[in-house]
């Protein structure tokens, strides 16, 4: 709150842009199975400029790796080890995983 007010003051008074740190969201993103093969890695930490949903996070990766988009309908997502809806908003420190159909057993 205070930081936001300060940023507003600096911007209006001195034309200084101050990044709103409170809106930076660092999340850990995991891929498994064939999704890992498609994106080329199994995990990374990502700084998001603003609060995003799991759907928007998937879109970030689909923009990087267009082939990923075709798997969207056969992927479920999890947030902090629980299955999560695609409209779930992410918080700093969240661990998100994109999971293809499971085949254990």
């Amino acid at each position: 709150m205070f930081r936001g007010a300060l940023a507003g003051f600096l911007r209006s008074r001195y034309n200084l842009a101050v990044a709103p740190v409170s809106q930076t969201v660092r999340v850990k993103v995991l891929f498994f199975g064939r999704l890992k093969d498609v994106v080329g890695h199994s995990q990374e930490s990502l700084n998001l400029a603003d609060a995003v949903t799991i759907e928007q996070l998937f879109a970030v990766y689909a923009a990087r790796t267009p082939e990923l988009a075709q798997y969207r309908s056969s992927v479920v997502a999890s947030r902090n080890q629980e299955f999560a809806a695609w409209d779930t908003v992410l918080y700093p420190g969240d661990e998100v995983a994109f999971l293809p159909p499971v085949s254990g057993g």
């Binding site: 995991l30 629980e82 999560a84 293809p100 159909p101 499971v102 085949s103």
Partner: protein, 159 residues
């Protein structure tokens, strides 16, 4: 009040051969009258193609959470005594056990029903994946898409 014996249950992801005998002994107690086990092992073919070997991977932290949830359901729904659920990861040869479940209960009906529920639910909800290797290549096995919530009215922050 916590249901009895839950702390005696076993959930494991291992990279060595599973000791079936030890798990059966673990769930066995004087108050029980039945143990039902499920031994899932590597088949030598898939869709009429000869399998060379399999490789399993898991989202380990979440898989353990889901296995624990299955055990809790077994106690709640079937009144079992104990359960052991162990899944192996990594490279598995034909004939090797990939998953083993042992359920003990006072009577056989609960043990049979609970064991069936456990393997069916594991195959549908536990984040584990199997890659099948053949003479001419490898494929990720077809699987089941776990049921997930369709929409959240309000997401909660991480605790």
């Amino acid at each position: 009040m916590a249901p009895p014996f839950h702390h005696e249950d076993i959930f494991q992801l291992v990279r060595e051969p599973i000791d079936l005998r030890a798990l059966i002994e673990h769930v066995r107690a004087p108050g029980d009258g039945a143990i039902v086990t499920f031994d899932g092992f590597v088949r030598n073919q898939s869709h009429n193609r000869a399998t060379l070997y399999l490789d399993y991977e898991a989202y380990e932290s979440m898989a353990l959470v889901k296995m624990r949830e299955i055990a809790a359901q077994l106690h709640e729904k079937y009144g079992i005594h104990r359960v052991a659920i162990v899944h192996r990861l990594g490279h598995l040869e034909i004939g090797e056990t990939s998953v083993f479940i042992a359920v003990s209960a006072p009577h056989r009906a609960a043990a049979f029903d609970a064991c069936r529920f456990a393997i069916d639910t594991l195959k549908r909800t536990v984040p584990i994946w199997k890659k099948e290797y053949f003479e001419d290549g490898a494929v990720w096995a077809d699987g089941e898409l776990p049921p997930a919530p369709l929409a959240t009215p309000r997401a909660k922050p991480a605790s």
